[in-house]
Subunit: 419 residues, 2 copies
């Protein structure tokens, strides 16, 4: 800031800035429409046909858009060649490292999951650097598959079950990690595996945050034109731990330090059982995977196979399975009613293992929400408490976040710059 | 949106828009500095001295700024006449209607509380229209006092203990109000009392939201230059009910329907005592004013006088008073730890009756927060849990919100337009 006349500078900068902004605008319009003509885009964004054509030409040359053979009819004006976002070129790489599995996926510009590798492995025993190196190996394999499809991830995003800030996993009670420089360790391991390639920028976030973004971007019912889609919700992941994320008006609520959403450690009973976080009576001890398996008389170390069995028993009407899920649903509903009273979302999405257990957990949870949410907006079966969509998870959310950055400002990722 | 060239329109609109924006920029700069010269403002906002002079002249003519007799020295360049925001003219009117009192205040452009009327009265027995008419009478008296000081509130804001949206009090369990069109009823009553005046625009919000804004705008330690000020916090009001508000990065978190912050109805014990909201075991039943008085063996209907007595006994070391406050503090800390895990604020501010009870409630609450907040950022005595500042309340927050709107865009409130 100084006292020279500021009116000239912004105008000079405008032309380049406006074109860069308009490139993104056109690209995002084609992205959200799925398929569009130049005239259609022009009408949509309020630019001239000539301006849009120039932008589209650049987006095609830079590898972000492709022309589609057929021409569209049924539109106002002369039918034109249809445009789509490119199915090759810039892409996103997402890596979810959870307690007992690693999922890697590559998402293209359209948001489609094009490569997916899942490995079930218990990450609790190993050193963080080992776990991250193994995840990098899976990622390197996914990158090979992507390259065969001519997809080139421009960045990688890690999804982790704990508190992440500034590139560091500050705390992950269920992994037993504390102050691990995850971005650096993963980038190092991945670069070592593919020395011929330019190093990928790596960033990291909490897995519930990224699963929530996947729900925001890919959830809702495909059949209803998105009418059922909400953009203010609490998202729960239930794996070995219980994670959570808050999305309000389409924005992730991160809190002052990036640690918001830790619903798994909201207290249910201050004198309850010990929790891995060091406190007692946290929600995780009543509705987490191990607690569910234990209460149902199953092996609490059985993991996903145990949840399969629990679901089978519930479906068969097994009393103990049903009472376990009813009781956990009630505790969950009590904690959720507090969370809803605090942040007033439109909906609560049950993800992770809760997704398939929703039919047996939701009734009791709904009852608690109905009785306890003071706004009176919650009632049984009105759909505010629901299973999350099955089309998104943290790995896809992570990869899609990379793609979103490309869509928001494609210029730095133009063809000649992409590795 | 249409397909005509959009590049011309924004530029044409710019001159007027930029001047209007710059008027606000200059006004807000003087407001935040308290006192400034034209040259000082120019240096601060990055406009030329000539441009600032023209803007300042208009702001003086329109009644928003005044020149201060003395000239300032010790500044770079020629000393100039000092500017301050006007102490007369446009102002804000705030009306807090709570369970057992009504507070009305008028705040000037500088944010100073210039008129304040408080009437202790139990509002639980009367019809909502009667309570609002009585509040309008108090407001009319405050407007008379304001007029004597040449202050002219340009709008009124109501602060109410319940869920407010779209001009309606949707639900106020402790008042027993439901679906009351508060803005309309208050505006009608006030207009009837002062037919000679133009009707004041009236809006309404939750009292905890407005008390939190007062904390944000006026809190912090005056002596430390604002270093201790935080802009992400949970604010608790403890009156007969317990209200709450969430402020993140200086913005009020309203939730999807405007009902966020209802911490008083977060469940402590699902099988606990009945609450006015219809549920059981809400925080209000453990740490609300009536619960505190009851547990301490005092008359739970004694209100503020009862809290005076409780404070006196605690100060004197009375065992029952101390154990009451310790136990309520512990419950409060358990609920707060859940809220902190969910929204990750920098601090929790205890307002209302909690403010003066903080010394005896905070230690146990701090202990719970330390043990239960997974980020590990909370520890006893690190000041994250603290009494709110005594310089703001909901009425001042309400009046100041009106003033903030004037500062953000003064043009519509220029002298010749103000009643």
């Amino acid at each position: 800031m100084n006292s020279s006349d500021p009116s000239a500078t912004p105008l000079k900068a405008d032309k380049a800035t406006v074109r860069r902004h308009n490139l993104s605008l056109v690209l995002r319009t084609v992205h959200s429409e799925g398929e569009a003509t130049r005239a259609g885009v022009a009408g949509r964004v309020g630019l001239t046909r000539a301006a849009v054509s120039s932008l589209v030409d650049q987006l095609i040359a830079d590898g972000f858009l492709t022309e589609w053979g057929k021409t569209l009819s049924g539109q106002v004006g002369r039918p034109g060649t249809a445009l789509k976002v490119a199915r090759t070129g810039p892409a996103g790489l997402g890596i979810e490292i959870n307690i007992d599995y690693v999922t890697v996926c590559v998402v293209d510009l359209a948001g489609t999951d094009r490569v997916r590798l899942v490995e079930r492995k218990d990450n609790r025993g190993a050193a963080p650097s080992t776990v991250l190196a193994q995840a990098a190996q899976i990622a390197a394999r996914a990158l090979e598959s992507a390259a065969e499809q001519e997809l080139h991830p421009v960045a990688a995003e890690l999804a982790l079950p704990g508190l992440v800030s500034g590139g560091t996993m500050r705390q992950a009670p269920n992994l037993g990690w504390s102050r691990v420089p995850v971005e650096g360790l993963f980038a190092q391991a991945l670069t070592a595996l593919r020395p011929a390639h330019r190093a990928l920028p790596v960033s990291a976030d909490n897995e519930a945050n990224l699963a929530a973004m996947a729900e925001l971007w890919f959830g809702g019912c495909a059949g209803d034109g998105g009418r059922d889609r909400v953009n203010s919700f609490i998202y729960l992941t239930g794996e070995i731990g219980i994670g959570g994320a808050l999305v309000l008006n389409g924005q992730l609520l991160r809190g002052a330090h990036g640690f918001a959403g830790e619903i798994g450690h909201v207290v249910v009973d201050p004198d309850g059982p010990d929790c891995r976080c060091g406190a007692r009576g946290c929600l995780e001890q009543y509705a987490g995977q191990a607690a569910l398996l234990r209460a149902a008389g199953l092996d609490e170390a059985a993991g996903a196979a145990g949840i399969d069995e629990l679901e089978t028993r519930a479906r068969a009407g097994d009393d103990r399975a049903l009472s376990t899920l009813e009781s956990a649903g009630r505790r969950l509903g009590q904690v959720l009613s507090g969370a809803v009273n605090l942040v007033d979302p439109d909906a609560v999405m049950l993800g992770g293992v809760f997704r398939r257990l929703t039919p047996w957990m939701a009734p009791a949870a709904d009852e608690e929400l109905t009785g306890r949410v003071v706004s009176g907006l919650w009632s049984p079966g009105n759909g505010r408490l629901r299973a999350s969509s099955s089309s998104g998870d943290a790995a896809r959310g992570a990869a899609a976040r990379v793609v979103r950055e490309v869509l928001a400002d494609p210029a730095p990722y133009a063809k000649h710059r992409v590795v």
